[in-house]
């Protein structure tokens, strides 16, 4: 694959439902990041993975949010009992290693909670 991919590209859900967002990083990239892009809020950091472990999950807004990464590759961000304020574009990025100068971003998943 040429770059970071995310699925689905769009997700519409009802308040209270759970959603799973998927990120496929660039092959060989050990570091993976999740950000959220909300109207008027810019880009907010959610969680960072180095391999399969998450040394920094300080940006997760509540315990309804969780993420995992398996095999040092694919990551899933799960939002339980979605609320309308969760509506945003969720961006995933990867970098060759922690501390690398460039993070490569995916196209994002636009989540709309009705």
């Amino acid at each position: 694959g040429a770059g970071v991919s995310q699925s689905p590209s769009n997700k519409v859900t009802e308040k209270g439902k759970d959603v799973e967002l998927r990120c496929d990083p660039i092959s060989g990239h050990t570091a993976l990041y999740w950000y959220r892009q909300s109207l008027g809020q810019g880009l907010e950091f959610l969680i960072y993975f180095q391999g399969n472990s998450a040394p920094d999950k300080s940006g997760l807004p509540s315990d309804r949010f969780s993420a995992e990464r398996t095999g040092g590759s694919v990551s899933t961000l799960t939002i339980q009992r979605t609320q309308q304020e969760d509506s945003a574009v969720y961006l995933c990025a990867s970098s060759l290693q922690a501390g690398a100068n460039e993070q490569f971003f995916g196209p994002g998943t636009r989540l709309t909670v009705l």
């Binding site: 810019g42 300080s58 501390g99």
Partner: protein, 111 residues
């Protein structure tokens, strides 16, 4: 805590005019600063980073530690520069690799 401020939400200039997108940061250590750009219907991508001291697409940015600024400049704006620009900071100590972004500036270059 580290913070990045982009005071202009919107910036509009005419083609050929100079453009400066402002970025100020607050961080007690020695940060790494970046500019990311998002063109219409494209993904966010790195434009330039302060440690490289490079010029990309005619843009430059100088880190001014005294003023805690990292403004992005281009002497002659082009229509294709119209995009959303984000300034970002990464801590160099403490182990966290996250980027802290400003809220972005939407640049429109008019013909």
């Amino acid at each position: 805590a580290q913070r990045v401020t982009q005071p202009e939400k919107l910036l509009s200039v005419f083609k050929g005019a100079p453009v400066e997108l402002k970025c100020n940061y607050s961080y007690s250590g020695s940060p790494e600063l970046f500019w990311y750009v998002q063109y219409s219907r494209q993904r966010l991508q790195l434009l330039l980073r302060h440690i490289s001291r490079e010029s990309i697409k005619g843009f430059t940015a100088d880190l001014n530690k005294g003023e805690t600024s990292f403004h992005l400049k281009k002497p002659f704006a082009q229509e294709e520069d119209s995009a959303m620009y984000y300034c970002a900071l990464r801590k160099t100590q403490g182990g966290s690799e996250k980027l802290v972004f400003g809220k972005g500036t939407k640049l429109t270059v008019n013909p």
